[in-house]
């Protein structure tokens, strides 16, 4: 019997669908021929030295950035071999534990986030008529002893935090420089809930409150505290912990759980006297190592910090206020004076305690076990300047690495006012070769493209240097040469000299003479063109042009920054063109001479890509900055993707046809027709091959950009001049490991000696790399009996001797010896302690 077409279809459709499904499955599951089979990573045996010989630039051939926001998958993806590195810092203890327990992963730790308790200082009565105990400094100060920071660090943060007492990050140089004073304060404010309770009871009664039935009462109503608790992270548990402590003390606590946005309306925007909150679980982030934290006192404790109502409610004692102000203005003559001021300010900050510092959080950067990379102690991997120079497999040279990053191409990229997001900046850094590079463990700048520098400062200005690649001198007066450029004449398109603008002459507080490396102008940009002086000068012209109201490049958003720059800029002067030597005059001071050079040394941007941007903004098609783009209703310029690219391509064609030289009056003599043509030709070839205009000179070049698919590919720049192992010594922070040994019992009248072994990776720590080993000796009553320094016996071995008189002065009892070791190789100080007993003469018998 013949079947109807419907019956046939009914049988054919499912079979066809099944076949189609199988075909799709086969195609989908077929491994891509270009991708190497994935293997879980294992720690490598080490790179063969022969492989390193002759290798220039990066140690891997290709780096692929791909979007991955879920930190929960980090370990799994590394184990599966699909990713090798993650840029996002991990602060979740669950994720961290899994990362730590895996055999195929490794991690690096970074500091930079601090948790604290912000207290409302208004009062003593608030607008609601309620009592605010935190108006009283003594009660605020007592909280330091009430809170167990070790509990917060170890239980709430699961070990991903370290206790912090002071307004100094425990990982930054100021803390190391003041290690002994800091230690003394930390011991003074150590966890002592009984002492805290006594102070709070005394002060509450002085305020007119009464304690009855286990509760505090004020005007016949319970004393209520409003806890503003952030909910996004571990601060929720911190808030609960502190609320519990306050309830145990007899306060009624109302817990208000809020997100950042909701909380900010209350603690920042509202008047603290309105009584919307009493304490808030705050947090502060720093993404670079701050070598000078002196301004922190003004910011955190005085009305000068911010204009908001909370800061205006701060009432520091006059001594503290003056010290904070002087430290912020760097109003001191010598370093010793500065340290003394810092020490006193720390003491006063603890007595003031409008903020109670709790912990410094640690963020883990995840990587495969066979990957090594330099990670910044503050900024983590995404803040590391050295990552492109140190990234490598530990068992081979070359290869590809896949990075997971939470954000990619967050905002448009351009070299003038483009994206400043950490994730974007991290990729950009790989394509740039800076003049100086910060040490990821100390924050001190090291030379990359400069031979050396001379810093001259006005007499009495406290500037010091640590490294020997630069020198520091002082002079009674620093006169700026008449020929130095100090301004820009937009109409004439040329620089204005000091002699023209200030015939009477100009002086400056600093002169920074930077000598660039001899082969600077042999270096190449990624598109093959050679660096020239115009690459250094055009960015300077742009700084002035963008602040000139008569210019088509004028940008109101740039004006404030420019005015701040002009406040201290006193001119710059090209001393020699080849080799390039530049002098920059300024009134701005940093305590470290290395930082002054970093801030002053002009850096190049390829003039030919910048010229396209100038043409596009000048013709009102694009804008360098977001603000101007919105004002002019045009696109924010991106050199890598989007609607900007065809516009820039059109400008390139135009520039090439007409041989356009930007600012010919200023740059004309530097740019001959041949260079102009060669640059545009190289850029056109680059664009034809890569499809973008991002040209740099770093160890990696931007190979391709895939915005919607969410990936960016970097490829090793084969012509990078430096040996591949130039920066490898910075792969791991050399944090000293301490082993303090000494007698447990000392008889009064005897001398005592203690030995400290300082190692790193099992090897003795070079004595020259140790800045100092300080000790604090506390007697049985917990009072400081002596402070001093240990002496070096050999590399990795230090001795600390206590004379018989010192031991006798301790009297009988249990004593504590605290050591603080500060290294020149890492900002993080390390501590060790030893407890020993002093017994009367002859009392050792029977003692261990």
């Amino acid at each position: 019997m013949a079947r109807s077409s419907g019956d046939v279809m009914r049988r054919v459709v499912p079979v066809a669908a099944a076949l189609l499904f199988l075909a799709v499955l086969a195609v989908a599951l077929r491994p891509a021929s270009t991708v190497a089979p994935r293997q879980p990573p294992t720690p490598g045996e080490g790179i063969d030295e022969a492989e390193l010989q002759g290798r220039r630039g990066a140690l891997v051939d290709r780096v692929v950035f791909t979007r991955e926001a879920d930190v929960g998958r980090v370990t799994g993806l590394i184990e599966a071999g699909s990713h090798q590195v993650f840029t996002q810092g991990i602060s979740s203890t669950t994720v961290f534990n899994r990362l730590r327990d895996s055999l195929h992963t490794a991690y690096d730790l970074a500091y930079g986030t601090a948790s604290e308790l912000t207290l409302n200082p208004a009062g003593p009565e608030l607008a609601t008529g309620e009592l605010n105990p935190f108006h009283v400094p003594a009660i605020r100060e007592a909280l330091n002893r009430l809170i167990d920071r070790r509990y917060i660090a170890e239980e709430i943060f699961g070990g991903l935090a370290v206790p912090r007492y002071l307004p100094l990050s425990t990982a930054f140089p100021d803390y190391a420089r003041l290690a002994d004073e800091a230690r003394e304060l930390e011991l003074h404010y150590a966890h002592d809930p009984e002492a805290a309770r006594d102070v709070i009871h005394r002060e509450m009664e002085a305020l007119g409150a009464r304690f009855a039935g286990g509760r505090w009462w004020y005007r016949d109503a319970p004393v209520r505290l409003i806890a503003l608790i952030r909910t996004e992270d571990e601060r929720r548990r911190i808030g609960d912990y502190i609320a519990n402590l306050m309830e145990d003390l007899g306060f009624a606590v109302e817990r208000r759980y809020r997100t950042a946005e909701e909380a900010s309306r209350l603690w920042i925007a509202s008047d603290p006297r309105a009584g919307h909150w009493h304490f808030y679980t705050g947090s502060w982030i720093t993404i670079v190592i701050l070598r000078d934290q002196a301004e922190g006192f003004s910011f955190y404790y005085t009305p000068r910090g911010r204009a908001e109502p909370l800061w205006q409610a701060y009432r520091p004692v006059p001594e503290f206020d003056e010290l904070a102000d002087r430290l912020e203005r760097r109003d001191y003559r010598t370093w010793v004076e500065r340290q003394a001021m810092m020490t006193r300010a720390l003491e006063l900050a603890m007595e003031d305690s409008v903020r109670v510092w709790l912990v410094d959080q640690l963020n883990a950067s995840a990587r495969a076990a066979n990957v090594a990379v330099a990670v910044d102690l503050a900024g983590g991997l995404s803040g590391s300047a050295l990552w492109p120079y140190t990234l490598r497999y530990t068992d081979r040279v070359g290869g590809q690495m896949v990075f997971g990053t939470p954000n990619l191409l967050t905002e448009p990229w351009n070299p003038v006012a483009g994206s400043n997001w950490a994730s974007d900046r991290m990729i950009m850094r790989a394509t740039e070769d800076p003049m100086v590079i910060p040490d990821p463990f100390t924050g001190l700048y090291l030379p990359q493209r400069i031979e050396g520098a001379e810093v001259t400062v006005e007499a009495g200005v406290p500037v010091g240097r640590t490294l020997d690649w630069l020198s520091v001198e002082s002079a009674e007066e620093i006169r700026v040469p008449e020929a130095a450029w100090i301004d820009w004449d937009g109409d004439a398109g040329r620089f204005v000299t000091v002699g023209e603008k200030h015939p009477e002459g100009v002086t400056a507080r600093t002169r920074t003479r930077v000598a660039y490396e001899e082969a600077l102008f042999e270096r190449r940009w990624h598109d093959g063109s050679t660096l020239s002086l115009a690459d250094f000068i055009l960015p300077w012209i742009l700084t002035f042009e963008r602040a000139d109201e008569g210019s088509r490049l004028f940008d109101v958003a740039h004006l404030a920054t420019f005015e701040a720059f002009q406040r201290h800029f006193r001119g710059w002067h090209i001393v020699s063109r080849d080799p390039l030597v530049v002098e920059v005059y300024s009134d701005q001071i940093y305590p470290d001479a290395e930082t002054i050079v970093a801030a002053r040394a002009p850096a190049p941007i390829p003039w030919h890509t910048l010229a396209l941007g100038i043409l596009a903004e000048g013709s009102d098609e694009l804008a360098f900055s977001s603000n101007k783009a919105d004002q002019r209703r045009v696109d924010w310029m991106s050199l890598v993707a989007g609607p900007s690219v065809p516009i820039l391509e059109r400008q390139l064609r135009r520039a090439r046809e007409r041989g356009i030289r930007p600012y010919p009056a200023a740059l004309g003599e530097l740019l001959d027709a041949e260079e102009v043509a060669a640059r545009y030709r190289a850029l056109a070839d680059w664009y034809a091959e890569r499809g973008h205009f991002w040209v740099g000179n770093g160890p990696f070049e931007l190979h391709s950009v895939h915005p919607v698919a969410g990936s960016v590919v970097l490829r090793r720049f084969a012509e990078f001049p430096d040996p591949a192992d130039k920066w490898l010594r910075f792969s791991r922070p050399a944090i000293p490991e301490l082993d303090l040994d000494g007698p447990l019992v000392v008889e009064v009248g005897e001398a005592a000696a203690f030995h400290l072994a300082v190692t790193f990776d099992g090897e003795p720590y070079a004595a020259e790399d140790i800045e100092q080993v300080q000790f604090l000796l506390f007697d049985g009553r917990g009072e400081l009996a002596r402070r001093g320094e240990a002496e070096a016996l050999d590399d990795g071995l230090w001795r600390l001797a206590l004379s018989a008189e010192t031991v006798a002065a301790l009297g009988a009892g249990a004593n504590s010896l605290e050591l603080a070791v500060t290294s020149r190789r890492v900002a993080l100080p390390v501590f060790a302690s030893h407890v020993f007993a002093t017994v009367p003469a002859g009392g050792r018998e029977g003692a261990p």
């Binding site: 109807s4 419907g6 499912p14 195609v27 989908a28 599951l29 077929r30 891509a32 270009t34 692929v64 950035f65 791909t66 991955e68 879920d70 998958r73 799994g76 599966a80 071999g81 699909s82 946005e261 900010s264 309306r265 920042i268 925007a269 993404i287 000068r304 910090g305 204009a307 203005r329 896949v402 191409l409 967050t410 905002e411 448009p412 990229w413 958003a557 404030a560 920054t561 701040a564 406040r567 201290h568 701005q588 930082t595 801030a599 603000n627 783009a629 919105d630 696109d635 991106s638 890598v640 993707a641 989007g642 609607p643 895939h706 915005p707 919607v708 698919a709 969410g710 990936s711 590919v713």
Partner: protein
Amino acid sequence: MSDSQRIPPPRRALWRDLRHLLAYTVKRLLALLLTVLVSVYLTIVIANMGGRVDELRLVQIRSEAAEAVRADPAFLDMPGEERHALIERRVSLEVERLRLDQPFLLRSVDYLQRAMRLELGRAEQMHSDRGSREVYDIIVERLPATLLLFGSANLLVFFTSVFVALTLSRRYGSALDRGVIALAPTSAAPGWFYGIFLILVFAFVIPLLPAGGMVAAPPPEGRWEYAASVLRHMLLPLAAMFLSSIFVSIYSWRTFFLIHSSEDYVEMARAKGLPSHLIERRYILRPTLSPIVTSFLLMLIGLWSGAIILEQVFNWPGLGSLLFRAIGHRDTPVIIGAVVIFAYLLAATVFLLDILYALLDPRVRLEGGRR
């Protein structure tokens, strides 16, 4: 007067029908426009919390400006008063840019009139992945990825469930039928929930498929390799969406077809001994075509919203995650842009359905029209 005299001549009847149709069309379009207007304005008000978002934004702008100035070493030695003045200048620039100096009511009306004209404008905070600030670019850039994944999944679910449901409705009470009914509650779990398990099994335990993304990183250069890579990346999210909705979808269509299979006219057709495929096509599918088409079209425009969590789980660059980000940034123009396009699509679909009903079902006629 006889009946034949009361029936107007064909030409007049046509004009009358056209008049009715025009009046109906105008009324429907006005009603739909009003609906779009109200829904978009409600979105504007809700997205801005009746203007309270301005307050939150001001605090955020001030904090960001203060932190930016503080973090910039160039301003490190600036006296406090000057630094505050600098922060204020930056705040006022941003306030001006976002027009926060204008009353919310005024801005809301402006947002509305632009939205109604489909003038999507510029985003306030966000950019498209390629770097454009035009809301149109931001949305359109994500559209292909959404259409690809959700279109494939929904079409697959729709046609499979209708086909299987029709088969099951013929085998009511069979083991397969009972099995599908038993599995229907599995659809209580959303797609992303299945997604997590599928990723765990097929990306980590047995690493056969990628854990997320739309294409390999870096994307393959050849067209076919690219397509194969996209297919590989689609499999898991597709499977997750399929698993989460297929059984309940089959169950509901099966019930729907069962109800219609027991109509008197179907019983009559069976009694007449018509072949089953003829009964299916003419007596079941044809009368039920209107709800099927409605469901299909609503499913199609439902693609517009994507699926926020599923896209997050699979790292899929679709419209759902875009909208999620826009809400997070409180980027009103992007939120309004997505909503107004959806509202217009919905209105157009509803209007189209009105027309389609009349074409598909002879029983549907305009009120007052010829019966």
